[in-house]
Symmetry: C2
Subunit: 333 residues, 2 copies
């Protein structure tokens, strides 16, 4: 390339990296040729010898769920400051795609991995899938967000979802609600389990009824929220407040209620989870729990960065959730 055109060989490298002193005159000469040819060093070759790509793989289940966008938005900002680039992989919650991307990222020699969703919060995760991650972890640092690898040590960052749910239920109780339901989520998922457990315990602790028919699971979508709320509304004896697994389900639930002419929050209070951008855009605005998604991504990346540099890092980081009270549970007076 520029080598022939000019005079030297590896001196170019020194100019590009400032790794050794170079005479001003020759530097200028080289710089000129670089400019002229718009020379771009090949990062592949560079990484091949450096053993460092500056890439961090990010696995997440669903780009249509704003929560994840917000998390990796935070991670991306942090990454740029540290000189890393994110390699985003949408697994569409498909374990098979998850494995594919996992391999892809390893082949591509990413410096580290951030893992969200999928197998790391599956209730029953096949050993093979766990082992796959473990094997990778031997070579490449991994940080799990809101999940775990049962039976294996790993670095993780999570929101205290138990506390988050507790905040919500207590909020309802303070408002005088005694009939509280739970919508959305799936028992195949540990986060649903954790939230449901918190839901149950908090009700018990307050001598309130925990009724199976007020618990309507399903998935994490708007459609699910809509259907489940329709079922609730069709009941003789209904709750006066419902906790939803996330903002999407809550949005669906609100739609169903309003469509049936049920006023929110006057006749039925509804709360979400995640404090997605959506929750303040809705009307009524959604009461929810913030996972501080930005911070979640940021600290995951901070920890990963330490791991990559072989520094010690905290195994488990738990972030406190915040209750965000809005209109869907309480009208401002």
């Amino acid at each position: 390339m520029a080598r022939e055109a000019n005079v030297s060989v590896a001196t170019v490298s020194r100019v590009l990296n400032g790794t050794a002193p170079v005479r001003a005159s020759t530097r200028q000469k080289i710089m000129a040729i670089i400019e002229k040819h718009k020379f771009q060093p090949n990062a592949l070759a560079r990484s091949l010898v450096n053993k460092r790509t500056g890439m961090i793989g990010v696995l997440f289940p669903d780009s249509s769920n704003m929560f994840f966008s917000e998390v990796f938005g935070g991670a991306e900002r942090a990454a740029l400051k540290l000189g890393y680039t994110l390699f985003l992989c949408n697994t569409f919650s498909d374990p098979h795609k998850e494995s594919e991307y996992l391999h892809l990222l390893c082949e591509r020699q990413v410096d580290g991995l951030i893992f969200m969703g999928g197998r790391i919060n599956a209730r029953q995760c096949q050993d093979a899938l766990v082992q796959e991650v473990i094997d990778i972890q031997k070579k490449t640092p991994i940080v799990l967000i809101n999940g775990t690898l049962p039976g294996h040590p790993c670095h993780r960052v999570k929101t205290d979802e138990f506390m988050g749910t507790q905040l919500l239920v207590r909020h309802f109780i303070e408002l005088g609600h005694e009939r509280i339901g739970f919508l959305g989520g799936s028992l195949a998922t540990t986060t649903t389990l954790e939230k449901l457990q918190a839901f149950k315990e908090t009700l018990h602790a307050n001598q309130l009824p925990y009724r199976q028919d007020w618990i309507r699971l399903g998935d994490f979508s708007i459609a699910c929220g809509y259907q489940r709320m329709e079922q609730i509304l069709a009941m003789q004896s209904r709750p006066t407040a419902v906790v939803c697994i996330n903002d999407y389900v809550a949005i669906g639930a609100i739609k169903a209620a309003l469509t049936r002419g049920v006023r929110v929050p006057e006749e039925l209070a509804i709360a979400g989870f995640d404090d997605t951008q959506l929750s303040s855009a809705m009307n009524p605005e959604l009461t929810t729990v913030s996972q501080n998604s930005d911070e979640l991504g940021r600290t995951a990346l901070a920890i990963l960065s330490r791991l990559i540099q072989k520094e010690k890092a905290q195994q488990l980081t738990v972030l406190a959730p915040r209750l965000i009270v809005r209109q869907s549970t309480q009208r401002e007076s």
Copy 2:
């Protein structure tokens, strides 16, 4: 690696790629060792000789805007089928970050580039920024989505935003509206210009008033929609319907109206643009124009794929938008 453990050297390569016949027995032996060591070929070294990374860089302005997520969702699905992987880069609408990522992607030797937002739909784009893209285009295929490089030939896929706006205005006219406003967007942006032009012409063609004080620009955010609608509501003589630059602005506008006790659509009809996931989640549900975001991404990738294989591809592909009528302009009876 496996070479020493076994017997051969490059035979491993033939096994991995099936590029030449290998005796069954030796293949088995090699496969066994690959399994045992969980051997992963190094994609960096491989790409270095192949001159093909299988990566497609995607520049987009804002991961918090669902529209873009939907577009690259479509692109990703198409990419996977063709054996490509997307390298997503959030430019945060910052020209500087745009340039940074552009260089990064080139150094990383992406096979192609998809460009959305930023400079490619800036009204006044510095020559240097355009030239930067042109220079890259000489080496790497690029497809532009909803944008252009003024004065230079380039491959692009776009929605007919002019027609989209026309559909909206005509919809209002058919509903009997004669006082129509326009909210959000920025004149620094060509898409705003195009939509505004369509807005103006359609009004004129129907002998309806085009009033400057009913045109309230700003940006593309919920907050903007909220503020602009507040301004509109404070006016003596207000429109009975407003076209918004996108769904986000429309959502803000609806919130402002409802907050002021103005009923939507009875007292004020509001329409968005993009048919984001949000639009059907809102209530009232949002009348909007679908850009077929999924298809936009899919065809951009299809064209890019042809370009990468040195095949001829259509320079300009225009997708027809679809009017989606929902509650924010018309209550079902």
